[in-house]
């Protein structure tokens, strides 16, 4: 999924997948993320970061 916004007050970030579905994700396990980062998400948690430019 791709991180689209970081402005959630409770530390969650909004992410979107290739089909456009969005999900609130906890990024605590991959460190600091910025909009545009691609992350592997499982059950609402980012488990790995892919690359900054990841999703076309």
């Amino acid at each position: 999924m791709r991180v689209v916004s970081l402005d959630e007050a409770d530390g969650l970030v909004q992410c979107t997948d290739a089909e456009g579905a969005t999900e609130l994700v906890d990024p605590a396990l991959v460190g600091h993320v910025v909009a545009g980062d691609a992350v592997l998400v499982h059950a609402g948690v980012a488990l790995a970061r892919l690359a900054p430019e990841a999703v076309a």
Partner: protein, 371 residues
């Protein structure tokens, strides 16, 4: 999309299939186990098995989180769902897993407040929105899902949310693999290692497989080219006389895993002395429970659950499917009495279950496979 399209390239897949053909010795039969249910699903969704030589057989392992939950554990969940004032939350697949007297979906139809969630965070949100109710989350899954439960429990504790608790049925991947390798039922040549579990635990925990059992393991991703490349890597190890852990999924899996996730797991969970696996029986230190620091959020301590062991229905052969001893279509009830719409066994419930993958992608018999 980057990281997807390039791993579904048909020409590259054909080329890889040629390399696999060149790597096998004629006359030798290879049995490779894909441990993870996500791999099983991908193999049949993309027809990866159709690109393999006839003497390379894929055997499906126990890595489907829904499939390994025993009936007694479902009964425990249903008992909690019927407790007064409880909202019982679980992943969608768990709603349809049969217990001894029905499913959680049946309990919902009988009046229990059972709700499907996509993540533990959803369950916590329900707890926030319903402070007068008790919200229980039925936590299942391997090390891939356990960090999400752990972070949610930490969040609940930090926010002082006292009406949230967890029925923890998280399991760990190494003990069932060791149990399978110790089983006389099965002869395997190598393993396709689980990709997303390894994102958390890394590849190192699998080193016992080549060291103690002399079998190669390659951690793999979930796209068709990931799987073909992993199979080629295993076959090259066998051809070269090597036996080691390799990592095909380096774009996601660090060899040492996700250290932050492992730290959270160690804070929130501890190993159960033993846990029952559907079809595999009791396996020592193969599951997680809440640690002492989080015991106040353990639903099994807030309420009493039956905790009764329930034998699988006689007709159901999920255990043999989970151990890779039989193919799904060799089960007596596959596709007849047991279908995804009306499953008897767990392997037919989840899309990651081998039976559901065979059924949904038309693998109804060996003859049809040969076509």
């Amino acid at each position: 999309m980057k990281f997807v399209d390039e791993f579904r390239d048909a020409e590259l897949a054909q080329a890889m299939a040629g390399e696999i053909l060149n790597a096998v010795e004629p006359g030798r039969h290879y049995k490779l186990m894909e441990v993870c249910g996500g791999h099983t699903h991908s193999i049949y969704k993309y027809g990866v098995d159709d690109l393999l030589p006839a003497n390379v057989e894929l055997v499906h392992g126990p890595g489907c989180p829904v499939c390994v939950i025993p009936m007694g554990r479902v009964d425990d969940g249903i008992a909690l769902a019927h407790e007064p004032n409880v909202i019982f939350t679980c992943f969608g697949d768990m709603l349809r897993v049969p217990g001894s007297e029905g499913t959680l979906q049946d309990a919902k139809a009988q009046g229990a407040d059972v709700r499907m969630v996509y993540s533990p965070l959803d369950a916590l949100r329900i707890a926030r929105e319903n402070p007068e109710r008790e919200v229980v989350f039925f936590a299942i899954g391997f090390e891939t899902t356990a960090p999400s439960t752990a972070l949610t429990l930490k969040r609940a504790k930090a926010e002082g949310i006292s009406n949230f608790s967890c029925m923890c049925s998280h399991v760990t991947i190494v003990p069932p693999l060791r149990a399978l390798l110790d089983s006389p039922d099965l002869r395997l040549d190598g393993f396709i290692g689980p990709g997303h579990v390894s994102t958390v635990v890394g590849a190192r925990p699998f080193e016992f497989i080549p060291a103690d059992y002399g079998k190669p393991l390659v951690v793999a991703g979930f796209e068709p080219l990931d799987l073909l490349q992993a199979i080629r890597m295993i076959l090259h190890q066998l051809k070269d006389g090597r036996c080691e852990v390799e990592n095909q999924y380096k774009r996601v899996v660090p060899y040492e895993g996700n250290l932050a996730a492992l730290k959270v797991l160690s804070e929130v969970f501890e190993l159960r002395p033993h846990f029952e696996w559907r079809g595999l029986g009791f396996i020592s230190q193969s599951a997680l429970k809440l640690s002492e620091a989080y015991a106040d959020m353990d639903a099994e301590l807030r309420w009493t659950v039956p905790g009764v062991r329930v034998a699988d229905p006689k007709a159901c052969q999920c255990g043999e499917v989970l151990k890779g001893v039989i193919k799904p279509y060799e089960c007596k009830v596959f596709g007849t009495a047991c279908t995804p719409e009306r499953p008897i066994g767990t392997c037919m419930v989840s899309p990651e279950g081998a039976c559901a993958a065979y059924y949904n992608y038309g693998r109804f018999s060996r003859e049809e496979l040969a076509v």
